[in-house]
């Protein structure tokens, strides 16, 4: 029997640490896109709450916590991160395994928002993009999902095939920000 060896999306391109900011690869566990069928939004939210302990997020919001999160992922779509999806969810929504489709990174540190401000046009001010807020937006030239998961940390997702480019772009931005810090 052959043995297939698994590789992570970043395959060694992360972690990176420049100045006060670090970027590291995150193993989010199972990723499932959950797309509610017609008129099933409420039922899905309840099923999600019952099975995984969190309601379906409103647009631009994420629910849950580290290890078990539901991220708004676009029009009528939620990305369940962490747990194997409960079979009951399938009654209300189309479930698709996306565990291998995304490269997931965590950007963390005092100047993390400044680094992101070099890559994405969204408003990252603390009072506007709060913890639990998320956005499907552009990051350099890639379509990304960015979620604020802590006071100074963000989860960034891009297509798996863009992992090397994300690591490259993060590094350039991190260097630019670090170089400006007073010494």
């Amino acid at each position: 029997m052959v043995e297939l060896i698994a590789k992570t999306p970043f395959d060694g391109a992360l972690p990176l640490e420049v100045g006060t900011v670090s970027a590291s690869e995150v193993d989010t566990g199972v990723l499932t896109s959950v797309a509610p069928y017609k008129g099933k939004n409420k039922a899905l939210s309840e099923a999600l709450k019952g099975a995984h302990g969190m309601a379906a997020p409103a647009p631009n919001r994420a629910t849950g916590k580290e290890g078990s999160r539901a991220i708004w992922f676009g029009r009528e779509m939620v990305l369940l991160c962490g747990p194997e999806p409960d079979a009951k969810l399938g009654k209300h929504a189309a479930l698709t395994d996306q565990s291998d489709a995304w490269a997931v990174a965590r950007l963390e540190g005092e100047n993390a928002a400044q680094v992101l401000a070099r890559l994405t046009p969204i408003d990252l001010r603390p009072g506007v993009f709060k913890r639990g807020h998320t956005a499907r937006t552009e990051l350099q030239h890639m379509m990304a999902s960015i979620t604020r998961i802590g006071e100074r940390s963000y989860q960034i997702m891009v297509f798996r095939a863009f992992a090397q480019t994300l690591a490259h772009d993060l590094k350039i931005a991190m260097q630019g920000v670090a170089a400006r810090q007073p010494r």
């Binding site: 297939l4 420049v18 069928y37 189309a94 670090a178």
Partner: protein, 976 residues
């Protein structure tokens, strides 16, 4: 000459720098201009056209004359304004547009030829003979005229772009801007204060005026310190806001200080996109020079600049200064100079009613009408009612009044209005939504009015933002009356300069009017006034005043030219920041990328994806050798190819089948579970959009594949169809392109290879042609599709992407053991052309199903997108260019994609065009080139010989029209 006094320089920090090969010293806080003036250097450049000696005119970003080139080699940067260039240790600068040297410039001969080089000279003088234009005139003019030059080398420095958001953007940190920022910040608004200078304070840094009982610069420092401590304030110095755009977006260029930009990874400049809910423009005003004969002599500068050099940098711009103005500021200039111990030999005030209480020779109602000297001013001629008088001077401080910096208010189409009281244009309210103006840029020329306007503008913004007003009161400050007598050009003979940078004189503007270029926009183009890097900041108003006079209209009727972004020059490098090298576009790598790289395969870009062209083997010296081998390998043994780049779309829901029926021309609701079907979809206009296979995994679950190129387009199309055309259908779809690593395994031995991997072997019965289903490989759940793009017995096997690298390596090794191996895009292309399979080379957007011989696949039993359009008259005519195969039959064997087809005897001109070739490959299976193409009524012409003509390469080939399937027409090999 440096004089005593504190100023805003750091005498403790001595800085060495070079100008034109000579070494000089300056102090911390100096600009190149202030440091050169301190070293008694007045000559800093040569003019654009006439190569006249020029000195510094201003002390700000509007500087037209003192442009230098900094740096060496690839990092060389031309046209840097000496007035804004911060001095740093080791700075190397040189003057521009002179040869062989600044002091002795041979091109200054142009000045003697001035009568021939006036406005529009190139339109008139060089019209004939035509042959000489490109060969002689243009090179000569280009050589003689111009600014600095680029290095011509690749720029290796880093530039950056960034985004910022705020409630209030304050543009300019003079008294108005500072107080606007403070007012908004104290009320809790998020404030960005942008200032193009290295420090805040604006004119307060250049004047001796007091605010709140303190020197203005000290007050500015205190306010800045308060702002700097607030979390909701970001002060951005060295940042010029260059453009106002839709929805509160502003472009701004930040110059990173030299010491910071030298650090690893640090940018030299950063281009900011600032999105602000509200903005206050407090951009100040720019002083207007006066046009009189020889007013461009080095040593002649604006009075405001003279005060700035004196008060901020403690530099006397001359030993013997004449002041010429038309407001009370002329008197303040004299007072400042005299206080600093600089000799003032005359005060010339254009106002007849002016009084003077200073100890200086005073000329009221007088003008300066000429200037003597060469590389430095030596004297000025003063004209009064009594006659003229020569006065010795090495510096003239002149002022024609101030022009509010209205530029940004006009970036969205607004035009300023003329204010007679201040003889200047002022902005119109609401010209840029959400932006209000405050201070000198709206015509408030007293310091106290500026401070009040700053508070008021911020209060207005706070109201709009729904924040409670902060209680800020404008402090006590100078509150003089701006009493101006307009003087734009002093009458008289000789050349009086308006636009220093483009060498445009009063005479040129008058000439334009005489030649009927009377609109201000026409005058601008005809004379080139306002078209240099300063964009007419110093000259526009005076030039249009001269034009108004020459055409007998008033200034308001004449109007201004259009103010466009950028306000100050922006380097292309900063606009394109982040897009150099790898930043140009994201690189999308398949899971087999590394293994493919290790095999030495060259890559070809397909959209953002990188795919291997071919896999060279030792001894192969030409790509064709590798390609032929790979084709033979697939035909005779087994080949492996990464096909993960094809779009994969998961389609689920009760209406999934019905939805697919609607987007595809053929039916999918009838497809059995565990089966795959080929289909193509049409655009709404009836032309073919994309093709691919769709597999039915369960009753309500399909996986659609698209071509690599059209994956995004198809996804967008499906969204459109679902959201807009059939919202009633209960169907959901999402891309799974990245979830699965998918590999084609093709060739007679494909099943043998797979059975070596699969946990449960397959056979023809369990996995017939067009079957699909789940498989297990080493315990990993995958998917297997028996489909073929090569015409061979073939499969596509998919595993979750994390296993892609491993599976590809395994497949490659096992294929090699069977006499096969990996194949690339070249072989893939040849294999599919041999089989007459289409790609986007064929379905390029202008072809119908009928054209590609698949009209029968448009189901008659149901509706689909594009069906009605595809049935329109003309869409199904036999005479349409329809798909055929082509093979060479004459002496010449070459076929070229893009070549056009003609009847054998017809002339190769477009009127005789019969069609064109879309795809070409050399078929090692058949031993000659083969092609797919489109030919008028093609299917009826099999066996006919036509002529391919490819005009670009001059190739002509006779070819026989044939069926597009060249190989195994019955498909026996595919079915195995």
């Amino acid at each position: 000459m440096r004089i005593e006094g504190k100023g805003l320089i750091d005498r403790g920090q001595q800085i060495n720098f070079q100008f034109d090969g000579h070494s000089y010293q300056g102090f911390g806080g100096d600009t190149l201009a202030s440091a050169l003036l301190a070293n008694d250097i007045a000559l800093m450049g040569r003019s654009f056209k006439y190569h006249r000696p020029r000195g510094v005119l201003s002390a700000g970003s509007e500087e037209p004359n003192a442009l230098v080139t900094t740096g060496l080699g690839a990092a060389q940067e031309p046209n840097v304004r000496a007035t804004t260039l911060e001095l740093h240790e080791g700075l190397v600068t040189k003057s521009q547009n002179r040869w062989p040297s600044l002091g002795f410039d041979l091109m200054s001969l142009n000045d003697w030829a001035a009568p021939f080089l006036g406005a529009g000279f190139y339109y008139k003088t060089f019209m004939w003979p035509k042959a000489l234009w490109e060969k002689l005139y243009e090179p000569v003019i280009r050589n003689a005229a111009g600014l600095g030059a680029l290095s011509g080398k690749h720029n290796v420095e880093t530039y950056e772009k960034a985004y910022a958001h705020c409630d209030l953007l304050v543009i300019g940190a003079g008294p108005a801007g500072l107080l606007a920022a403070l007012t908004a910040a104290r009320a809790g608004a998020d404030v960005i204060l942008a200032e193009e200078d290295t420090r805040t304070g604006g004119r307060l840094n250049a004047e001796t005026l007091e605010v709140d009982g303190k020197p203005g610069a000290v007050w500015a420092e205190e306010i800045t310190a308060e702002l700097a401590q607030m979390d909701n304030v970001r002060i951005m110095t060295r940042t010029s806001v260059v453009g106002a755009y839709d929805q509160g977006t502003f472009g701004a260029l930040e110059k990173v200080p030299h010491d910071v930009s030298m650090r690893l990874g640090a940018p030299r400049e950063c281009f900011w996109r600032i999105v602000a809910k509200r903005a206050v423009l407090a951009a100040g005003a720019i002083e207007r020079p006066v046009a009189f004969r020889n007013n461009d002599r080095p040593g002649i500068m604006t009075a405001g600049a003279v005060r700035a050099y004196l008060n901020r940098w403690r530099v006397a711009t001359g030993r013997n200064v004449v002041v010429f103005g038309n407001t009370d500021e002329a008197h303040r200039t004299v007072a400042d100079l005299q206080d600093a111990g600089v000799h003032v030999s005359a005060l010339v005030d254009a106002r007849h009613h002016a009084k003077c209480d200073l100890d200086v020779p005073f000329y009221a109602g007088a003008e300066v009408c000429d200037a003597g000297g060469g590389k430095r001013l030596e004297s000025v001629t003063i004209r009064t009612a009594k006659g003229t008088e020569n006065v010795q001077a090495d510096c003239l401080a002149m002022s024609g009044g101030w022009n509010p910096t209205v530029n940004l208010t006009c970036h969205m189409g607004g035009r300023p209005t003329w204010d007679r009281d201040i003889a200047a244009f002022v902005p119109v309210d609401g010209a840029v939504p959400g932006l209000s103006t405050a201070g000198a840029c709206q015509g408030d020329f007293s310091t106290h009015k500026c401070l009040e306007a700053g508070v008021a503008a911020a209060q207005g913004a706070l109201d709009d933002l729904g924040l409670k007003r902060a209680d800020v009161v404008a402090p006590a400050a100078e509150d003089g009356v701006y009493d101006i007598y307009p003087v734009y050009a002093v009458p008289g003979k000789g050349r009086a300069w308006l636009d220093f940078q483009n060498d445009v004189t009063v005479k040129d503007v008058k000439q334009a009017a005489v030649e009927n270029f009377q609109s201000v926009e026409h005058m601008k183009r005809y004379t080139t006034q306002g078209m240099a890097t300063d964009q007419g900041k110093n000259s526009n108003v005076a030039a249009l005043a001269v034009l108004a006079d020459a055409t007998g209209r008033g200034i308001p009727e004449t109007g201004t030219t259009t103010y466009r972004p950028p306000y100050t020059p922006v380097s292309i490098a900063s606009l394109g920041a982040g897009a150099q090298c790898k930043g140009f576009a994201p690189e999308r790598f398949t899971t087999s990328h590394k293994a493919t790289q290790e095999k030495g395969a060259p890559f070809i870009e397909a959209g953002l994806w990188y795919r291997p062209s071919y896999f060279p083997k030792a001894g192969e010296t030409h790509w064709r050798q590798s390609c032929d081998r790979e084709v033979n390998m697939v035909r005779n043994a087994v080949g492996v190819c990464d096909v993960s780049t094809l779009g994969k779309i998961d389609v689920q829901g009760p209406d999934a089948g019905a939805f697919l029926d609607f987007v595809y021309t053929n039916a999918f609701s009838t497809l059995k579970v565990r089966r795959v079907r080929y289909g193509f979809m049409l655009r709404e206009d009836g032309h073919v959009m994309d093709d691919g296979t769709t597999a039915r995994l369960s009753e309500q679950h399909f996986v659609m594949t698209t071509t690599t190129a059209a994956a995004g387009q198809v996804m967008r199309h499906l969204e459109f169809v679902h959201q807009c055309l059939v919202p009633q259908m209960d169907v959901r779809f999402t891309s799974v392109t990245e979830q699965w690593a998918q590999f084609a395994v093709a060739g007679p031995q494909s099943r043998d290879l797979l059975n070596d991997l699969l946990d449960t072997p397959i056979d023809d019965e369990s996995w017939p042609f067009m079957a699909c289903g789940e498989v297990s490989i080493g315990g990993v759940k995958g998917r297997l599709f028996r489909i073929s793009f090569s015409g061979e017995h073939a499969y596509e096997v998919a595993v979750p992407s994390r296993y892609g690298d491993s599976l590809f390596r395994t497949l490659m090794t096992k294929a090699e053991a069977l006499g096969g191996g990996a194949y690339g895009m070249e072989a893939l292309n040849v294999l599919r052309i041999e089989k007459g399979f289409i790609t986007h080379a064929e379905i390029h957007g202008r072809v119908t199903a009928y054209d590609i011989g698949m009209g029968g696949m448009v189901s008659g039993k149901k509706d689909c997108i594009g069906k009605a359009s595809a049935a329109r008259p003309g869409m199904v005519e036999e005479s349409r260019e329809r798909m055929v195969g082509l093979k060479p039959v004459g002496e010449v064997k070459e076929l070229i994609a893009g070549g056009h087809l003609f009847d054998k005897g017809a002339e190769a001109v477009s009127a005789n065009d019969q069609g064109y070739i879309t795809s070409v490959g050399f078929s090692p299976t058949l031993g000659h080139n083969i092609a797919l193409g489109f030919l008028k009524d093609g299917p009826a012409r099999h066996g006919e010989v036509v002529r391919m003509v490819e005009h670009l390469n001059g190739v002509e080939t006779l070819c026989e029209v044939c069926h597009p399937v060249f190989f195994d027409a019955e498909g026996g090999r595919t079915r195995g």
